[in-house]
Assembly symmetry: C2
Homo-oligomer: 380 residues x 2
């Protein structure tokens, strides 16, 4: 293998595929990044066997030449060093030559690195997916959907399926749901499909995969194509493929958890509520359980309180835009509400309660594509 490549382009691709490489893998070859040079261009691959990322740098596009291929071939180089090395090389170009025994030379400016490579034949092949079930979403929308749900996945391995975000699709509508059984975050969006009757259910993508994918998604409305199979999902970009395995197991049916009626409902400015809960959390954090208390008062006013026996007490009042229904005193895990308020893209939020012992709903007032559900906490 022997090629010369534009450094900036190469660094960008190497950083992308490196997101899939884990230093804690038990498979030694996966600590490396695979580099493959063919006449069309250079392909880089990184994988931790859960996530795999493949990035392609074409030899040239309409605008310019990126790679000069002198000899085709492939090599695997240790990711931990390789990423830092290419970032710190001084020239605009990098020349990479593989000699005998996988000995690899990198040249750039007056710098020469001689690196011990690994056998590319040992590197696992990426899965070939059946592309029957596919849909498309703008990159920025997918990024929002991840941000607005993934924080609510469970971090505990007792029910592995809850560590993922569940995708359901029907009638051109995609629904993402995450829950750790104390709170639930749901986000809907329209998806573009080739077949009008595409149905998706129980597609559970690990939260960790979505967090990595999110770092690659850009703030553009260019479409990303999503390919779904029974065990894998693939996100296809112009020059990048992002594979993730899916989680096994039946995702709980969440539809009927969501109360349809409410006894007390209110509209509140989101930012004011968030800041108030953050202050209250300063004390309830100390008590370890994050419990914050809410009480309705006369005149469309909410009272928020929290107590730490060691430190003290905080009490504050918020004016609601509207407050209707029964009087209410309720306690909840304030951290969970704060997490949700941070991802709600609305100035005003709607909260619907069905009594002090029932789950309650938080949603933006200006659209119905998002819903957050919370269990209250018993404090007596």
């Amino acid at each position: 293998m022997h090629f010369v490549i534009q450094r900036e382009h190469f660094v960008h691709s190497v950083q992308h595929v490196n997101k899939a490489v884990s230093s804690r893998t038990t498979i030694p070859i996966l600590t490396g990044i695979k580099i493959e040079a063919a006449s069309e261009g250079v392909t880089l691959t990184g994988s931790d066997s859960d996530i795999s990322i493949e990035s392609f740098i074409p030899s040239a596009d309409e605008e310019r030449e990126y790679v000069e291929i002198k000899k085709e071939g492939s090599i695997v180089l240790q990711a931990r060093f390789f990423v830092d090395i290419v970032k710190k090389l001084p020239g605009n170009e990098i020349e990479i030559i593989v000699q005998d025994q996988f000995a690899t030379t990198l040249r750039s400016g007056s710098v020469v690195f001689n690196l011990n490579g690994l056998d590319p034949e040992e590197y696992p092949h990426l899965p070939k997916l059946d592309e029957n079930r596919t849909f498309s979403l703008p990159q920025n929308l997918l990024k929002d959907m991840i941000k607005q749900t993934v924080f609510a996945v469970s971090t505990q391995e007792t029910r592995p399926v809850l560590t993922g975000v569940n995708l359901e699709g029907e009638n051109g509508q995609l629904t993402c749901t995450a829950t750790d059984s104390h709170r639930l975050a749901m986000r809907k969006a329209f998806m573009e499909t080739n077949s009008a009757d595409l149905e998706l259910s129980n597609i559970v993508i690990p939260g960790k995969s979505l967090n990595e994918l999110s770092k690659i998604l850009e703030d553009t409305d260019e479409l990303v194509e999503v390919v779904v199979t029974d065990s894998q999902v693939l996100f296809k970009f112009k020059y990048l493929l992002f594979f993730s395995r899916l989680l096994d197991g039946k995702y709980p049916v969440t539809k009927n958890m969501i109360p349809e009626q409410s006894k007390t409902q209110m509209e509140i400015p989101a930012k004011e509520l968030l800041q108030s809960l953050e202050r209250a959390l300063l004390l309830s954090k100390e008590a370890k359980n994050n419990v914050i208390n809410l009480k309705t008062l006369e005149g469309e006013v909410l009272e928020i309180t929290s107590i730490s026996s060691e430190v003290g007490k905080v009490t504050e009042k918020i004016n609601c835009r509207s407050l209707e229904g029964e009087e209410l005193r309720i306690s909840f895990n304030g951290k969970n509400i704060i997490d949700a308020l941070k991802v709600i893209d609305s100035e005003m939020v709607h909260i619907m309660f069905t009594g002090a012992m029932s789950p309650f709903i938080l949603r933006p007032t200006d659209h119905d594509q998002m819903l957050h559900l919370f269990s209250p906490v018993r404090t007596y």
Copy 2:
């Protein structure tokens, strides 16, 4: 105690004194910040007994009123919560009232915090220093001098005196020195003194104190007054006092460590040398000892190499501006040279070697107020 204070001003002062508060103190009262209200203004104090910081907010200055004192008095409040609370309060003003049993009420906007205070009588008094030996420096110069020396202090407690920076003063010249016995950083500057014959020697300020002081120093040439006694140093700002204890013990005499002659000397662009060493360090880090090798070649060229048996090897060449004297091969801890190059404020550096087994000197080419000394590493 009862006063109303401008929130922004108060937050700024609270954050300053909080730099001295340690959560790991064994003296419970020192986990708190002392607040004292008198007719002239409000004084805040934080201390971990090594460092103490006192900040004063005057009731008013020429421009405006900052504090309205309604009743004089004092209280100690737990720093950990207090700092976060005042930062997150919503109003422009904060009202603080101490009731019975040190119960303290904070009001701001529609928020009320009731905090359990501690007895201010238990809070230790700050030392009253004899102000015989004082000098002054611009804040930005002092900040530079700290940055350019403190990185070289020892982090090991085997010789406690080496964990500090030593101050010597004579004929209006101040010299700061730090060494961990493998490298030494020295920085000189002129100081303003009241008495022409002020002499300072063996004034060893803990590195940790200087790092905290550095965060308070601003990028201005306003003077800070330094008061030195046998056991304490005090940095006096307009509205802030920063006290640190001094380290006991005799600081080593470093003057005669510095070689006066050289056998090989060179001038190199600082940034190029830094980047080259950073690349070489990528591999020598792996070998744990950070060893980098330097060799002089024909034509005023330096060759920098490092090797990791596991990963590979790097070789690169740098063109010197000048290179004179004997041929040389030397090995050193590359991390130490990198640390020094990062704080040198000069485009070009001068390096003077006295053979492969002797300490060598690095200094800026454009002034003689700074010197770095390094021990070589034996590699055979």
